[in-house]
């Protein structure tokens, strides 16, 4: 069966290669961006970038000729603004917009033509093979394809143990399949902007980009505050040490990397371990210095992630841990 990407699909998915092909065929050139009738396109693109940077997702759908141009102009504008957090937030908002359309379309998967189109989008853009499950209500992806993506999500519900798994496949509904590739979609858009090479920026774009830069730059800067309290995993480890009980190696690594990361000097960190039943100052000092990157491999070790600590049974999360993925983020707030 041949797969045809129609104009309606291009409006929703302007990042597909077919959209570029459409522009080439229509004979579109850079100089057209200077034309007065392009002002509306440039303004729409600018407002989408501003909304995207503010975390909003635009799901309005114009006719496809306009959508493709708005997408192209947005990319050029973001490139021209050249502030990394703006690019990141814009890419994510575009990804979420596409995610919404993809989910809707995927739910209509009874149409074989549509089903083939989506299988093609997933395979072409993300090398992800999706199949409809035998019961016809869910989709299935290979365990390894799932793990490669889900392991970077923070929500507990994405851990594979909370999924339906059988015979090498993870079963997902339409929303979940699309959520699985959202980050890659954002990366795809991010990379497309990053690799863009614009020989000469049209004046109309330059001017709009300057305005946007002045408006957005202060909004994306933030400063982290100092840690006010230890996270529960660290507190627990310190309590065990305080009771002179044995702490597993992995917990010692967590404790030492954390204390080093919050700026404690090596001497002070070594002191914390002096209660350990098997304490040997020379060995402890070497190991702490190794973690600090001053001995051995000279690589400074980072604090293990919450995910890793959960797997090692070292996580004692409380409500205050909501939304963090590393103990280092505990208690930090945006100023």
């Amino acid at each position: 069966m041949s797969i045809r990407v129609g104009p309606g699909d291009l409006a929703k998915y302007p990042f597909l290669n077919e959209a570029g092909e459409y522009l080439r065929q229509s004979g579109f050139g850079w100089d057209e961006l200077e034309k007065p009738e392009m002002k509306e396109i440039i303004d729409t693109a600018a407002s989408r970038i501003a909304a995207g940077t503010a975390g909003q997702v635009n799901d309005s759908l114009e006719r496809y000729e306009k959508e493709i141009l708005v997408f192209l102009v947005s990319l050029i504008l973001v490139k021209s603004i050249s502030i990394e957090p703006v690019l990141k937030k814009y890419s994510l908002s575009e990804a979420r917009r596409a995610e919404k359309f993809l989910t809707e379309d995927l739910k209509k998967q009874t149409d074989p033509q549509k089903r083939a189109l989506f299988a093609k989008i997933f395979e072409d853009l993300f090398s992800l093979k999706i199949d409809v499950a035998e019961n016809g209500r869910l989709f299935k992806v290979k365990v390894t394809d799932y793990l490669r993506r889900s392991s970077h999500f923070h929500e507990q519900e994405w851990r594979m143990i909370n999924r339906l798994v059988s015979r090498g496949f993870v079963f997902l509904d339409a929303d979940e399949v699309v959520r699985l590739v959202r980050n890659e979609l954002a990366i795809l858009i991010h990379d497309r902007v990053a690799k863009m090479n614009i020989p000469q920026m049209p004046a109309a774009i330059r001017q709009k980009a300057d305005e946007l830069r002045a408006e957005l730059a202060p909004k994306v800067q933030y400063r982290a505050q100092a840690v006010t309290e230890y996270p529960p995993c660290i507190k627990h480890a310190l309590e065990v040490m305080g009771r002179a009980e044995n702490l597993p190696h992995s917990a010692r690594v967590m404790l030492a990397t954390y204390l080093l990361a919050v700026g404690k000097p090596v001497d002070e960190v070594v002191e914390v371990f002096k209660n350990a039943p098997d304490f040997n100052e020379k060995i402890t000092r070497y190991q702490v210095e190794h973690l600090a990157g001053t001995k051995g491999s000279r690589v400074k070790y980072s604090v293990p992630s919450c995910d890793k600590l959960r797997t090692e049974n070292l996580c004692f999360a409380t409500g205050d841990c909501a939304g963090i993925i590393n103990p280092m983020q505990f208690g930090r707030k945006r100023a």
């Binding site: 209500r137 390894t144 851990r159 143990i161 339906l164 496949f169 995910d307 959960r310 797997t311």
Partner: protein, 381 residues
Amino acid sequence: MNDKNQEIVRGAFREYYFKHSSQVEMPQDIAHREFGYMHLAAGMTRHLSFKSRGEVMAGLVREVPSDVYCSNAIYRFPTLPMNEKQWQGADLIFDIDGKDLDLPCVPSHTYRVCASCKHVSPPSEKEYACLSCASKKAEHVSIPCSRCIDGSKKEAKRLIDFLIEDLGINKSSIRLYFSGNNGFHFHIDDESYRPLDSPARSDLVGYLSGIGLMAESIGVRKSPGSDLAFVKFPKGGLDYGWRKKIADRLKIDATSAIKLSNRIKEKGFSAFKSEVDSMAREAGVRIDPQVTTDVHRVFRMPGTLNSKSGLTKKRCDIDQIDSFDPFQEACLLGDSKIKVHLKTPVKFSLKGESFRISKESAELPAFAAVYLICKGLADAS
């Protein structure tokens, strides 16, 4: 290990690598693996590379390492420092270690070697204090018994079931080995797992170990503002994977929403949540999370000797796991007579022979003498 002990162990190990070279299994892509040796004298050499089986075997007979390791990873440049090796992927591996299973038999065959004076105390239920110098710090040395091996086998069988039923791995892609001391190692020949990074493997470990299962994933959600819950079973049903495992333990199926709801009403959601969490941990496999998540690990090479025992990391057919006796099949050292001085009375079985020695010195077949020397319970005399 003192010089005399080293000489005995080296002789026995060299003879093994000479006579039983066919036992040593080479990895795929041999030239792109990192090899490592642990030395009998002490210390370790890593970042070694070999191009062929012949080179590996020549190295083993020449160097006689106490332990031989090979990376699960494939590198473009295996001999360069870690950050320059250029990682290309790593085989999926698992380690089930008998000592992590908290088996009740362990204290009855665990000897304590004093950290200060090296005096060996025989197994005892009493709180440890060295009989010679009263120190309380000791290294624990276990002579695993058949119950330990049965415990590890039980975990191994559970893992095999997960690998086939849930992960869809072909039975023929699963290689199972006795570790050479007190556990089992798994090597999975499935290339689709090779590219997985450490977080992905960590998620897989969580899955297999039963860590992090939410009550929500079987359709039980907390009612806001109370300790009650409502039940709506998931779209995919309760027939596979963890959902099935938990449903079976709760004795429910897709028609039991009301039954489950009543049960939660009695205990409250929090209690139900912890019940599900403990059920999952109990049904999970006890694998070493570090081994599976480390994508730069050097792992004991199949068919080589383990210096904790002198036994071989021996292949075990997964269909024959019940009848596999590692103390018989993995004991491949010679049987020339060696005189040893025993530090404590011992009892153990190897190669179908039971040893119960209470004398201070004895003449034993090499496999038994090396076993005790490796365990630190005897010295060559």
